[in-house]
């Protein structure tokens, strides 16, 4: 239904998206995961026609976005990241505005309004001014506007950011319901959210797709890997990064300074056990090990491994 082919986007000399390709099918909830600045929003903005690709194309049911921009926009409902709304409008007026532009009027609008108001639980605020609504309501108003024309494809950019836990559960429930009849492509950097909601995960890092599959696939792909978490005192960051040269079987996932200690996340193949070598290296460098624990990978570890900016991340 939605196909991205060798899509690239440059902002001046900065390559935000680097020739990515993937296909999405009907009735699928797909999580687009990446750190801030990874290229998620840029990709979504190209799919919705807000930006044009520097290279490559987007196809919806065989039509490409460059030649059939308006046709594709008719089939897409879009909730942008910051969910901008006209604060001076009433909720009803805002939904009517979206419906008018999409040519939904009269009885059709009435039906569409009833549907989105029920789906997004907006019964109490339909005649309220948007500026006076809570953040949770505003998010649902944005979602209702994106759904007013019952689109085949819903693009949701960070739909739960800034919401409280109760509101997150409500939006998650709604997205799951929508995913039974539509293609939902949602971006997020909240891993728990993605894992709880989506059928498939695409991880983007530095404009490139670094993983694509169900969360179970991604975890099983990385089976055989063990994480080693350490908290060290009296250590230099450079010396920690140099550890890989001495112990080649490890890779450094992350390294964070916290107070006078450093949190280090290492990874190694489970068929080897470099813990003794790591311990000896620490002793040799006069480090004080406050904590050292090994664990199997979860989705968060996979995400951090794939998107960590440190020098040794992909070693």
């Amino acid at each position: 239904m939605l196909r991205i082919e060798n899509l690239s986007k440059n902002y001046g000399h900065v390559q935000a998206v680097k020739s990515i390709s993937f296909s999405l099918s009907d009735k699928e909830i797909v999580g687009f995961l990446g750190a801030n600045g990874a290229g998620k929003s840029t990709t979504l903005k190209i799919i919705t026609g807000y930006l044009s690709p520097t290279d490559g194309n987007v196809f919806v049911d065989g039509k490409n976005i460059i030649d059939h921009n308006l046709d594709i926009q008719k089939q897409i409902g879009y909730l942008p990241e910051l969910n901008p709304l006209y604060g001076e409008m009433k909720v009803y007026e805002y939904l009517k505005f979206h419906a008018d532009i999409r040519g939904i009027t009269g009885g059709d609008f009435k039906k569409a309004l009833e549907r989105v108001v029920a789906d997004c639980a907006l019964q109490g605020v339909v005649h309220r001014t948007i500026g006076n609504c809570s953040k949770g309501y505003k998010q649902r108003i944005g979602l209702a506007a994106a759904m007013i024309h019952d689109p085949k494809i819903l693009i949701l950019d960070e739909p739960v950011s800034g919401l409280d836990p109760n509101q997150i559960v409500e939006i998650r429930r709604l997205i799951k319901k929508l995913g039974k009849e539509k293609l939902v492509l949602m971006s997020s950097h909240i891993l728990q959210e993605i894992q709880a909601t989506v059928d498939r995960i695409i991880i983007i890092h530095n404009g490139e797709i670094v993983a694509d599959g169900t969360s179970e696939d991604l975890i099983s792909d990385s089976q055989g890997k063990t994480q080693l978490h350490m908290e060290i005192q009296n250590a230099e960051e450079n010396a920690i990064q140099d550890m890989k040269a001495v112990i080649p079987s490890i890779s450094l996932n992350s390294l964070n300074k916290s107070g006078d200690s450093i949190q280090v996340s290492l990874e190694y193949n489970s068929n080897s056990d470099p813990r003794k070598d790591v311990f000896d290296y620490a002793v040799k460098n006069d480090w004080t090990i406050l904590e050292m624990s090994a664990s199997k990978r979860n989705l968060e570890d996979i995400f951090r491994h794939l998107t960590y900016e440190g020098d040794s991340a992909h070693a």
Binding site: S52, P84, I101
Partner: protein
């Protein structure tokens, strides 16, 4: 076409749900009324030439003020992303917004009709044709300045900057005719033709010349086209 109408209605609603439009209309009526009636009884002539001389000056500040937010506000609050991802062409967004701004200017112009009614009641030998063409000229001038204003508004997300740029551009059009003495003789004709005052004065005299209509239409079309291109350019940023 329904997209243009949807944008038009949204903009008009936006004008009239805030105090801005009402303040604008009242101040516009008061300022023009004050300057017109100040000299009206002194001249003791039943014509509206003094009003037609004042309104273009008031336009210089009022129209950029009305149009400064038409696009820059959408950019500022981020709703430009919403309307740009709806199935509507940039051209239709620009036309809808332009027509809304222009409509407000026409309503403002209508508030000065009270002076015509006064003139009709107390005056003699009123040249109704000249009054009609005078209003036509003011409407066309308002159209040009609104087009300039929406163009300035498309350049930035800051309404104050849009206002200042708008005033700067309309001042150029307004002053061209007055600065001819500083222009080389060979260019004087072209500069004069580019001036809004030159065409406005022709129409205000009661002469509806196709050249003047073409001029106003072309300038409006040019700025609306440029505004559309500016909006489209975000895709390639």
């Amino acid at each position: 076409m329904h997209s243009v109408l949807s944008i038009y209605k949204k903009e008009l609603r936006s004008f009239f749900t805030s105090p801005m439009a009402y303040i604008f209309l009242v101040v516009f009526a008061l300022v023009n009324g004050y300057f017109f009636t100040n000299t009206f009884f002194l001249y003791n002539q039943s014509d509206m030439r003094s009003l037609f001389g004042i309104v273009p000056l008031v336009y210089l500040f009022f129209i950029p003020a009305v149009s400064m937010g038409l696009i820059s506000r959408e950019k500022g609050i981020g709703t430009i992303e919403i309307i740009s991802t709806l199935p509507i062409r940039e051209r239709d967004i620009v036309i809808g917004k332009y027509l809304a701004g222009f409509s407000l200017i026409l309503v403002a112009l209508l508030t000065t009709v009270i002076h015509y009614i006064t003139l009709y009641s107390v005056g003699t030998t009123t040249d109704h044709g000249a009054v009609f063409t005078g209003y036509l000229g003011l409407a066309l001038l308002g159209g040009v300045y609104t087009a300039v204003g929406i163009f300035a508004s498309s350049l930035t997300e800051n309404q104050v900057i849009a206002f200042i740029v708008g005033i700067a551009i309309v001042l150029v059009f307004f002053l061209m005719d007055k600065l001819l003495m500083f222009v080389p003789a060979g260019l004087a004709g072209i500069v004069q033709y580019m001036s809004t005052e030159f065409h406005l004065s022709n129409i205000s005299r009661g002469v509806i010349d196709t050249r003047n209509l073409v001029y106003f239409g072309s300038v409006i079309g040019f700025f609306l086209f440029m505004t559309t291109r500016v909006l489209e350019s975000r895709k390639w940023s």
